[in-house]
Amino acid sequence: MNHPTARMVERVLVAINSPLRSDDALAAAVELASSFQAPLMALFVEDVNLARLSELPFAKELDRSSGVIRPLNPQSLDRALEAEARKLRKWLQDESKRRRISVSMQVVRGHCVGIAERMARSRDIVFVDYAVRRYFGNIATGSFLPGQDASRLWDKPVWVLYDGTKRTRRALALASSLGQTYRLDVVILAGEEADDNDIEEQKSKMPSNRKWECQVLRLSDQKSVIAAVRNRGCAALVLPREYEHKHDFGLIGSIMRCPRILV
């Protein structure tokens, strides 16, 4: 598929935080890379803090299901992470063949967001899963499912942060493109800086002959935003890369469980 915004995407970068692996972000990244015909780069990020902990003499972990406490050591941690990385690599290879996209994967140790930002180029789309901020991550969705249909990720609106800056316009353009391609509604989360006329103008630029709608919510109107998140769900949140740290969504952020696309 020739994506309307393909020329503004050089590469799709997805940072997979191990052990808080993200199926949704990965599947969405693959889908997008396929749409843009852009190469996909997966970063399997081993949490450096976990590695350090495992070397401490009193390191122990609690089992997620039973609460049993057991020793944690570097060897067992490495084995578990390697196994995860192997599975991910296999899955990516399969997807590469299936979708005819170029895929690469790198295992790095560090902080997920930091590494993603460091390795991203200016025209990359960066996927960082919200799971890094959750306690239970994707536990409910299980491990990777080869051949998983990413379209299930795209049955909710795509949200975009817009405040009138050039960076957020790019985010809006990407969100609009995703909406057009996957027939998703777009919810514009407007910051205080964005004025109504500008927003209306941006809306009018969006193709109108499709059966999707564009809703505008003010970030300050938390009640409406929370209600919309709960009622409509969220396929992805598109925002400029540097805004990931700039904006603290508070309660909204905690309930918006979706991958984030950093542009």
Binding site: L50, R52, L53, F58, E61, L62, I69, Y135
Partner: protein, 806 residues
């Protein structure tokens, strides 16, 4: 010159014709076919009693010989009775929600079973769409999503609190591949480096470790709450499911309930259905196709299958109680069966595969069975008795009932049984069952004894003619004229082997009527005459006659030695009957005896060679006792005798030759020769009285035929018991020969009468002093016996003296 033999029977005594003049019709076309049963008043009365009497065990055994249409009579009477009885209930098997392996049964008014089944089928169809639709509503989705979200939020909140506590203590809450961990932080906010940690003071280290341990314990408590919360959430979701399901199915089930509100059992069942649907609603929420490997046991269709209704007894459209006849009464056909479906090598079943048996179908009515067929089928008799005894129809696979298989199967709820069973069988079977099966008398308390014959008198000939008319009409035969009917009546008497009786063996009479029709058809006659009937009788005999012909030929060629002329001491012509099933004929046998000095023992060669039956042996013993009591009352019977049926290579049974054997023995003792032109039949008792025997007609005709081969000269005769005279229905040619004086039949009351006819010498009676005339048969026989006794005494004395000298 032919010697005269006493007073033979007159020709009129040999055959009792039917006077066609007494029959008040021209042909059977003038008659109304007989509708009632001829001569079975005893059996009909018993059937009537058995049908109406109430009580456990008042089932009926209809017994009698084959060919008298017991089945037809029983069925006709039962159908007449059943027509006035109400239509029995329908019976349905349904799923048992408490014990799925024990399907429940529901009794319904006749015709309602199928309607109920149709209503449930419609309900199942409606449920298939109504339930998934109910769960696709936004309201439901939102309520469930809220609960799930609340659960996640609750867990996250608790973890958040632990996380915050950890942060306060400068500890990082981390995820591991399989859980969580706590790591102390350094001044830069990163997890502390192991080298750095090692350089910390012991106090600091202990503090950190204590903090981590405390956090771990706190987190452990939190994690252990999660399953409880999860369970609570699941229960809440289930409650919503139940609520939604209830709304979805309530009105659908209400529709069915409305149609059957008058049946409390159905209403209770529908309540159970509703509860079950609500309880298992998740199974119906998505319309899934059966899986390829287990098409019977997967998918929504399978889940809904348990609400089906299996109508095993349907009386829809019937007007009265049923009369069921089963000609293959296997165990399964009687008590029903549970069928199985093979799926990938596994046998599966459920209540919908329960099949009714005849007991189900006849319940509330009548069941007619052939006794011998029931007994021949493995376990059928036991199954029938069990059902009658318990008054319950319990469908139980044989392999389970007899412990041959221990796999789990269904145990359908038994159905109350209210049926009258009529077993139809022969007399022998009835007495065998009565003797050997202790349950039999308890369960079959009414005996309907069908007779094969009726009295031949003025009152029975016209009904018999109407029976002929009925058979002719039923089988679309030509009408029989009155002489033909008279001949059929005579044939019937001959079948009964009694001139004063008529056989009601309808099968044999029907055979004759059909063949008579065939004969009349061959000559293109519009009516059947007596000649046609006689031709049919002759043709039938001819078809069966080959063995008789061969036997007579063997006698004619002297391969089998039978003398029909001259006189011989100790040799006599006895008469026997060879029964070939549908045909029997008489045959003379030469019986010889020898006597000698002995100790009173009789050597029955037939018995010694195991060619004699028990009754024959009994006859020989009676005869020896007669001799001893008649001639040797005051001295020992010092004679040994041997008796044999010459050229007899098969089993000889019956005592009808005992008169002949006794006469041969008297001839041997008296040294008086016996006329070989005379044959004898009859049995004797210890007093020398002659008793009736069977097959008298065939025996006379047999000897007549053999003598005819040699040429009848008036000397040929047969001696029969006087008590058999009334049984005589001899062939026309035999009667003609007697009329012309070429053949005779004599009847005797005792052995004296017979021996006089055979030897031409008076038998002799004792005078007042107890002496017999010396020139009589008895006198000469006694003399021989006394001589033998004297010789034996001398022999014994000489032997004793010789022994002492030695």
């Amino acid at each position: 010159m032919v010697m005269s033999l006493g007073n033979p029977l007159k020709p009129e005594a040999l055959y009792t014709p039917c006077d066609a003049g007494t029959l008040d019709f021209e042909t059977t076309a003038d008659l109304v076919g007989l509708d009632e049963v001829v001569g079975q008043s005893r059996a009909l009365s018993a059937l009537n009693y058995g049908i109406h009497v109430k009580g456990h065990g008042c089932n009926i055994f209809a017994l009698g010989p084959a060919g008298i249409r017991k089945h037809e009579i029983v069925t006709r009477i039962l159908q007449g009775e059943a027509s006035s009885r109400p239509v029995p209930s329908d019976w349905c098997y349904v799923w048992n929600f408490k014990h799925p392996h024990k399907p429940s049964v529901i009794e319904m008014p006749p015709g309602r079973g199928v309607r109920f089944c149709q209503h449930m089928e419609q309900l199942i169809e409606d449920l298939g769409t109504a339930i998934p639709s109910a769960f696709e509503t936004e309201e439901y989705q939102t309520r469930v999503a809220d609960l799930e979200r609340d659960l996640i939020a609750r867990r996250d909140e608790m973890l958040q609190q632990v996380d915050e506590e950890a942060t306060r203590r400068r500890v990082r809450f981390l995820h591991t591949p399989s859980g969580f961990a706590f790591a102390p932080l350094d001044a830069g906010g990163e997890v502390i480096d192991p080298d750095h940690f090692s350089k910390l003071s012991d106090k600091k280290k202990k503090q950190i470790e204590a903090d981590v341990k405390e956090l771990q314990e706190r987190l452990q408590k939190v994690i252990r709450q999660f399953p409880i919360w999860q369970k609570e959430t699941r229960e809440k979701i289930k409650e919503i499911d139940r609520e939604i399901a209830h709304y979805a199915v309530e009105h659908l089930i209400g529709g069915v309930r409305k149609n059957h509100h008058d049946l409390p059992e159905v209403c209770r069942y529908l309540e159970d259905v509703e509860k079950d649907i609500v309880e298992h609603v998740r199974e119906f929420r998505q319309q899934t196709e059966p899986q390829a490997f287990f098409p019977l046991r997967s998918g929504t269709a399978e889940a809904l299958r348990r609400y089906k209704v299996n109508v095993i007894v349907d009386h829809n459209g019937e007007a009265s109680a049923a009369v069921i006849y089963q000609d293959l009464p296997t165990y399964s056909n009687l008590v029903g069966r549970i069928e199985y479906q093979a799926q990938m090598g596994t046998l599966l079943t459920d209540f919908s595969l329960i099949q009714a048996g005849d007991l189900h179908r006849a319940n509330g009515g009548y069941l007619v069975l052939d006794a011998d067929r029931v007994l021949r089928q493995p376990f059928a008799w036991e199954g029938l008795k069990r059902a009658l005894r318990s008054r319950l129809i319990r469908i139980e696979p044989l392999e389970k009932a007899y412990g041959l298989m221990n796999t789990s199967s269904l145990e359908p709820e038994p159905i109350p049984l209210d049926v009258k069973v009529v077993l139809v069988g022969d007399t022998r079977l009835y007495y065998l069952l009565n003797h050997y099966d202790p349950d039999f008398a308890d369960l079959f308390g009414v005996i309907a004894d069908f007779s094969e014959e009726v009295d031949r008198d003025g009152g029975s000939t016209m009904p018999f003619a109407r029976l002929v008319a009925r058979i002719a009409q039923e089988e679309e035969l030509r009408p029989f004229d009155r002489k033909a009917v008279a001949r059929v009546i005579e044939f019937s008497s001959r079948l009964a082997e009694d001139a004063s009786k008529l056989s009601v063996n309808v099968r044999q009479i029907s055979d004759l009527l059909r063949e008579s029709d065939y004969t009349a058809g061959a000559r293109e006659a519009s009516q059947i005459s007596s000649g046609d009937v006689q031709a049919a009788i002759d043709a039938r005999i001819y078809r069966h006659d080959r063995i008789r012909e061969r036997a007579y030929e063997a006698i004619g060629r002297e391969l089998v030695k039978i003398d029909v002329a001259g006189e011989t001491v100790g040799q006599i012509n006895g008469l026997s009957v060879l029964d070939l099933g549908d045909f029997s004929f008489g045959l003379p046998s030469r019986i010889t005896t020898t006597t000698r000095l002995g100790d009173g023992k009789f050597l029955d060669i037939q018995r010694e060679t195991r060619l004699g039956g028990k009754i024959h042996s009994k006859g020989v013993l009676i005869m020896s006792n007669f001799l001893a009591s008649t001639y040797a009352r005051e001295y020992p019977l010092s004679m040994s005798a041997s008796i044999v049926f010459e050229q007899s290579y098969g089993i000889v049974d019956g005592d009808s030759a005992s008169l002949a054997e006794l006469c041969a023995l008297l001839s041997a003792l008296s040294h008086l020769p016996i006329r070989q032109s005379v044959a004898v039949t009859g049995s004797v008792n210890q007093r020398g009285e002659v008793q009736a025997i069977g097959g008298v007609n065939q025996k006379i005709e047999g000897f007549f035929d053999v003598c005819s081969q040699a040429g009848l000269d008036g000397s040929h005769a047969v001696i029969i018991p006087a008590s058999n005279v009334s049984h005589l229905m001899l062939r026309e040619d035999v009667v003609a020969a007697v009329s012309e004086g070429r053949f005779n039949v004599h009847s005797v009351d005792d052995v004296n009468g017979a021996i006089e006819l055979l030897t031409g010498v008076p038998a002799g009676d004792r005078d007042d002093n107890g002496n017999l005339p010396t020139d009589s048969v008895n006198g000469m026989a006694e003399k021989t016996l006394i001589e033998l006794a004297v010789r034996r005494r001398e022999f014994a004395r000489n032997s004793s003296a010789g022994g002492e000298e030695a």
